[in-house]
Symmetry: C2
Subunit: 266 residues, 2 copies
DNA sequence: AAAGTTAGTTTATGCCGTAAGGAGTGGCAA
DNA sequence: TTGCCACTCCTTACGGCATAAACTAACTTT
């Protein structure tokens, strides 16, 4: 097994924080590419065709180079993805109006995050195991923390809250992101897919109603009606789930704030 | 592009619901394997080494066969994964005591789901774009719906709530699951990794405290202290985030229930 | 002009999913 | 009993992937 050592950490961090030595007066041919150019190409591919289509070959080709040419600028594919991640995070707003209270600010923050994830759905596949520790990741954290600090909750509570909020927005966005990819991936629209499936389901599980009474009841209670026909059914519903879930979450936070406030009274 | 037609849907569903024609009196050699044996082998590999290690070759080898032998039983790798998913879902409890109220029941349901995801972290990587429509997926839904129906909320609200709860548990579990994989994947413990990184961070961002005042403040406010030294720091914290977040979510649901109840009064 | 460093290529290794085709198995109809 | 044929399982092969190694060509410094 290959162990990543101190040197690798230094290289990674230098790339992320753009702290590399300037390329002036160095021997050898002039660089024909730059890390930023590579990142733009890679992000464009991932945005348009998803993470699965992001290969070193594809990025190289888009830049008129071979896959191997990229290794001059970036140590590996996984580092490339980390860099892409930190780069797109720069799109996010860095501060929110706090005049109307933290709840309003958190709501619009969540909306921005939601839109961001849908703009770059591949970000949802970047491992959250360990932070990337890039500058924009820190900015993103700082931004939401600045809002949440307004609640007056303790540091420990804030730490947990940040985790919960990110989890929630990510997970909600993931549902929509994946459902957008599905038709392209399977070459089948949601309608076609569902039609084929549900027909077979009746054959294969004729006792469905008895086996799943609650589900059957729910299905009977007026299915969701979309107002906007241009947006797919599933997506519309997911958006409402997001809004409703966020409201529930914020209600919970408000309850915690009130509890803390009451306890502070004489 | 290859389009999946009606025939594929029928084959998939038959496999999921075990509605295949019995193998008695059929010509040709007796099957040396079975779908269940294959699923057990595949699940064992995915549990132990993660989704990335799950290849048709690996599963075949574990069963003393070649990769291609599996295609007699299972049409493709993605169908295999769907089958694995529905199979492990069978481990989950199918009903919860409702005597102590829905809140208690939801809490233990969430705990079971959390443990389930950590037992089978690869499940978190199964696409949620479209439901698999296997029997156990329906059972799982039925189970949680039966609990939530106790709240007395409307069908629409319930639909959203189920989504939110699944999102939340999945996302929270994902953090821990990924952080468990990280040391194995990089050959570096969390401590080593963090030590190497933070040393470089000071070099590369000497103005950290000014750029990220809120983060710096949070860091100063007593870092989390683990009681149980055997469990990694990050994991302990994630578990608390899960519990705290769930409580917040349930508070929010309770608020919605109370609002609905008040509105129903004369 | 020689030496040394760098950018980018070609080539090769070992993975992956799976298509194609062939070998052997065994139940059934003739 | 023979021949057929559906069936299981194998070998081989293809085109993808990340990336290691060795090479060429460009450019700066000595």
């Amino acid at each position: 097994m290959v162990f990543a050592g101190q040197g690798d950490a230094r290289r990674s961090m230098a790339l992320l924080w753009r702290a590399g030595s300037p390329a002036q007066g160095r021997p050898g041919p002039k660089p024909g590419l730059s890390v930023d150019e590579i990142l733009d190409a890679a992000v464009a591919i991932a945005d348009a065709q998803g993470m699965a289509a992001l290969s070193m070959r594809a990025v190289g080709e888009r830049l008129g180079r071979t896959a191997m040419a990229l290794y001059t600028y970036v140590p590996s594919k996984s580092e490339l993805v980390d860099l892409m991640y930190d780069r797109v995070l720069a799109e996010l707003p860095v501060s929110y109006e706090l005049g109307a209270g933290w709840r309003v600010a958190v709501t619009s923050w969540a909306g921005e995050m939601w839109a961001f994830y849908l703009r770059h759905p591949w970000v949802l596949q970047v491992s959250q195991a360990r932070p990337v520790l890039g500058p924009n990741e820190y900015v993103t954290l700082e931004t939401v923390l600045r809002i949440l600090r307004e609640t007056g909750l303790t540091a420990g509570a804030l730490r947990r809250l940040v985790g919960v909020l990110f989890h929630f927005v990510r997970a909600a966005a993931q549902t929509v992101a994946e459902s957008r990819q599905a038709p392209a991936a399977t070459g089948m629209s949601d309608e076609e897919w569902w039609y084929a499936r549900s027909a077979v389901l009746e054959e294969v599980a004729p006792d469905f109603a008895e086996r799943f009474p609650t589900l059957t009841w729910l299905d009977g209670e007026g299915a969701y009606q979309s107002e906007d026909e241009s947006v797919p059914y599933l997506e519309q519903e997911a958006k409402e789930t997001f809004a409703a879930g966020l409201a529930v979450l914020l209600d919970g936070i408000e309850a915690a704030v009130n509890r803390a406030g009451l306890r502070a009274l004489p």
